[in-house]
């Protein structure tokens, strides 16, 4: 489902530095709330300072991939994604609250190990952060394409095991090979010792 906007921005490439400047300018105006020359001047200086300092992080020189990744982002889905994620967070929070409040506290921790076909680091970080943001699951490690996730109960990781969260993130970043590969559930110390080599 390639939209026209995806192809047009892929041609020119979304300039990451310009995005950063616009973002910082909006941020400054919202925080300061003053539009006189002095305060706006401070803003311009601050933005210039931040852009110069983060040059090596966001500049195309050190990371030519970033502009390419930004060009492939599906912005419509990227706008919807936070709201979807917030819904997931709310639902999972209620589930965790239930686990905490039930006298029997029926938690059953499990480690999940799965691989993702996603290539871009930004997509992997977004997936990792979304997993951690959703209650009941914490990303412990991302090594190459392998995720290690601690879940407080298997049910709270359902969206990871069936791959629906991976599909959402892959959709935002225009990744095609997003299939979750061999999701493994670890529930005992012996297996952890064997697989981690402790």
């Amino acid at each position: 489902m390639a939209s026209p906007s995806t192809t047009s921005s892929a041609r020119s490439g979304t300039p990451a530095t310009l995005l950063l400047i616009v973002f910082l300018a909006v941020l400054w105006i919202v925080f300061s709330g003053k539009l006189d020359p002095i305060h706006l001047g401070y803003g311009v200086l601050s933005i210039a300072l931040v852009v110069i300092m983060s040059r090596s992080l966001i500049g195309s020189r050190s990371d030519p991939l970033l502009n390419e990744v930004l060009a492939r982002i599906h912005w419509g889905r990227a706008l919807v994604y936070p709201f979807w994620l917030f819904g997931q967070i709310a639902l999972a929070n209620l589930a965790v609250a239930r686990l905490v409040l039930l006298p029997s506290m029926p938690i059953d921790p499990v480690l999940l190990r799965f691989k993702t076909g996603m290539k871009s680091p930004l997509a992997k970080v977004t997936l990792g952060n979304s997993i951690t943001l959703t209650p009941g699951t914490v990303t412990l490690r991302i090594k190459d394409d392998e995720f290690l996730v601690h879940a407080i109960h298997e049910d709270l990781a359902a969206g990871l095991i069936d791959g629906s969260m991976q599909r959402k993130v892959a959709g935002v970043f225009g990744e095609t090979e997003h299939e979750t590969i061999e999701c493994e559930l670890i529930r005992d110390a012996e297996t952890v010792r064997r697989e981690e080599g402790w």
């Binding site: 941020l27 919202v30 925080f31 709330g33 936070p82 917030f86 967070i89 709310a90 999972a92 929070n93 965790v96 609250a97 686990l99 905490v100 409040l101 506290m105 938690i107 059953d108 921790p109 499990v110 480690l111 990792g128 952060n129 979304s130 997993i131 951690t132 943001l133 959703t134 209650p135 009941g136 699951t137 914490v138 990303t139 412990l140 490690r141 290690l148 601690h150 407080i152 529930r187 005992d188 110390a189 012996e190 297996t191 952890v192 010792r193 981690e196 402790w198």
Partner: protein
């Protein structure tokens, strides 16, 4: 009027989640599960509280500032949580598992 009621409901719900989170830290058995209790309901509690405060005085510039706090927490909190979990894993801290689970 309606806004004030919504605001108070949001604040109350936020506090509820914060209390649940604190309870969870006390009740859960090991570091990893406590990480869940310490960080997740906190995020939710903070988001709800900030939304409540954003509506408290009606919608104005301060509401936008409070919403930005929500965004920063939503990005920063999982990063910090992951750092904790990764540190624990790196120092070979074994997660607690429910007894009776057989090794495969």
């Amino acid at each position: 009027m309606i806004l004030a009621i919504i605001s108070k409901v949001l604040l109350a719900a936020g506090c509820g989640f914060l209390i649940v989170g604190s309870l969870g830290v006390n009740r859960f058995p090991d570091f990893y599960s406590r990480t869940h209790a310490a960080t997740k309901p906190d995020t939710m509690g903070l988001i709800l509280s900030m939304l409540g405060l954003a509506l408290y005085d009606g919608i104005n510039l301060n509401s936008a500032k409070l919403l930005l706090i929500v965004i920063f927490v939503a990005i920063g909190n999982p990063a910090a949580t992951h750092a904790l979990g990764w540190a624990a894993l790196s120092s070979r801290l074994m997660p607690w598992f429910r007894k009776g689970r057989e090794p495969r």
